[in-house]
Subunit: 382 residues, 2 copies
């Protein structure tokens, strides 16, 4: 709970709901009769409606990116380090829109929503959602807000994939795309870790083929395991060594009695906490969207050709110790953008915090973000 | 099934049992009233009993390292690429002893053994076993075989840790230690992956707090998950890219329908196969032995001091793409050995096969192994 809200916080924020009352046909062919997106905004939209930034969230993220919902809230939004007055994503300059994706579990239509046709929870019958579907649904929200073109679309990890897809599907609607710690497609290793997480969830005896809500249980063990796997891959070997080393929480290594390492205790805590507030069907759905993202597939794996129609300018950032989305994956995007003769700036940030770096206030990182966006503000008009 | 046994195979082999009929007190303080070790030997012991090589196995290994148990056996022993006449561990020169560790599930006394005191399966009550205990029990087997000093003790991964512990605890009994893809202690990341595997096993509803045998079930899902996690960490990102890429076994990425990637199918197969022949309590026990191994802890984290009494010569090998036991971990051992003024040779082998490289017939690797051991044969007398 914040006793005093800091000057560079967006303060107390309220979530809003966008209701799309028209049918929406997804890439998989299924039509949702309607849907809702929960979102937040920070800062003010200017008269030309040219200063909007869209924040796209990652696997476990949601719309609450900055500020507090109330004075009782324990922690601010998930990207509060970067969003606020005078912060890199400066709410004095920009109107920031942050949305919970379709299929999410924080208020947008998803597995926890009642299917209007059956009056049962969608649960596992919620249709497959692809990154492209998210982008289209976000464009509907933009229409609703009167935003024709975003000054910037910003995302880390899976969020960066959405920003990239935006530039391909709506070239006229993106001034700048900021792709942070992402990739043009997942590697086999990435898919493997996601599949292990899904296996952990779907083989939990409380999963009930996704119908756990009706059975008044939660596949908490499976979700906990999934999160522990994810969490280890978001950190780096060096970062974990510095933070935990081989410190013991209890026990004696020389006899092997009652040993618990600090790192074990930490992962249990993180896994348990996550399993309390996240929905298992959403986790499965979002990891699949990650796995299936592969925009260059349609042009025979030619990313340069895929990017040909793109009009946005790009900032591509990656982190030295990120092994889930290594700097090489960002370089592939940068190289393809250069070959496609696009406007691209890129930086590889030194950090030992792994994939999680994109959420942390690393000095060079936030300085680059801020500088780039100040230039964008100049280009689009405050 | 081998239709013809190759000339460089040790051929049909039989397992033997060593029965230790005296009580054996483990590091944890518990005393086993007796124990058995199952082992195999390949080649002939010379008159001086100076040409014996001990093979120490890794997490999921066992005593059957080379040859076939029968003409019906589908695959040869797990290190058949390296053990045999004219192979790197040359049975024309050496008498090779390969043992299943105490606590194992392939014939040595372990959780699947009846506790003579209670006449129940040990199961989860099998005492905690440390690397040091394995080394002592292996020394009892050596006594039984009349081997005072091994020409070489060879191990990859957890096997390398046993070889290292041998040189510390029995300096007079090891001529050469070959440490392959190992480390002087696990990192926080390593421990984290092991703990996730243990969680997967122990939270399987068929685990029954380790009493699954009495309940006539197996925690197969948990073991399968544990193996999938392990398997991904034994491969490299590049190796998986080359082998699986984003190839689909079924489905359509552009709609997200019925998608299964080849890498998912492969991991399911590997996990299921492993869960059929491995014991869950043994997996938990062995991962803990890995986690707890830390010989330098007794000298205040001073590996040089720990190695001071060592008399063996060393060959230390590591693989460029091994991120579970990276080359840096081997360098720590090499540097400590140099500073402790020991005889050490080392090589870092280029390979994109990750930690699993130590099991593969990589040309430079097997050439170095063979050359080194031919020199050892000259030193100890054939």
């Amino acid at each position: 709970m914040p006793s005093v809200i800091a000057e560079d916080s967006v303060g107390i924020v309220n979530s809003q709901i966008y209701s799309h009352t028209q049918p929406f046909t997804l890439q998989c062919g299924t039509t949702l009769p309607s849907y809702e997106l929960v979102y937040e905004t920070y800062g003010a939209l200017n008269e030309n409606k040219s200063n909007a930034i869209l924040i796209c969230h990652a696997l476990s993220g949601h719309h609450h990116a900055a500020g507090y919902h109330s004075m009782d809230e324990h922690k601010p939004g998930w990207w509060d380090t970067c969003i606020g007055p005078n912060k890199p994503i400066d709410t004095n300059l920009f109107y920031v829109v942050s949305v919970n994706n379709l299929g999410g579990c924080h208020g947008s239509t998803g597995p926890l929503t009642l299917d209007p046709e059956t009056q049962k929870f969608y649960g596992p019958s919620f249709p497959s959602v692809l990154v492209r579907d998210w982008v289209v649904s976000q464009s509907h929200l933009a229409d609703h807000l009167g935003i024709h073109k975003f000054a910037a679309i910003v995302g880390g990890s899976l969020g960066g994939m959405q920003a990239l897809q935006w530039t391909i599907d709506f070239p006229e609607r993106v001034h700048a795309a900021l792709l942070i710690a992402c990739a043009a497609k997942l590697s086999a290793q990435n898919i493997a870790f996601n599949e292990i997480a899904r296996q952990a969830i779907t083989t939990d005896p409380n999963f009930f083929a996704g119908r756990y809500v009706e059975n008044s249980v939660k596949p908490s063990q499976g979700l906990m395991l999934a999160r522990m796997i994810g969490h280890v891959t978001y950190l780096s070997d060096d970062g974990m060594r510095d933070r935990f080393g081989r410190e013991l929480k209890s026990g004696d290594l020389s006899s092997g009695g009652g040993v618990e390492f600090q790192v074990e205790s930490y992962l249990h805590y993180q896994g348990r906490a996550f399993s309390k507030h996240f929905d298992a069907n959403t986790y499965v759905l979002m990891t699949k969207a990650l796995d299936y993202f592969d925009p260059a597939r349609e042009t025979g794996d030619d990313l340069v050709a895929t990017l040909a129609p793109v009009k946005a300018k790009f900032l591509v950032l990656s982190f030295s110790s990120d092994w889930r989305f290594p700097v090489d994956r960002s370089r592939e995007i940068v190289n393809a953008l250069i070959e496609a003769r696009k406007n691209v700036a890129a930086a590889e940030i030194e950090s030992d915090q792994g994939h999680d770096s994109f959420l942390l206030p690393i000095e060079r990182y936030v300085r680059i973000l801020r500088s780039y966006l100040i230039r964008v503000a100049g280009e689009v008009g405050k």
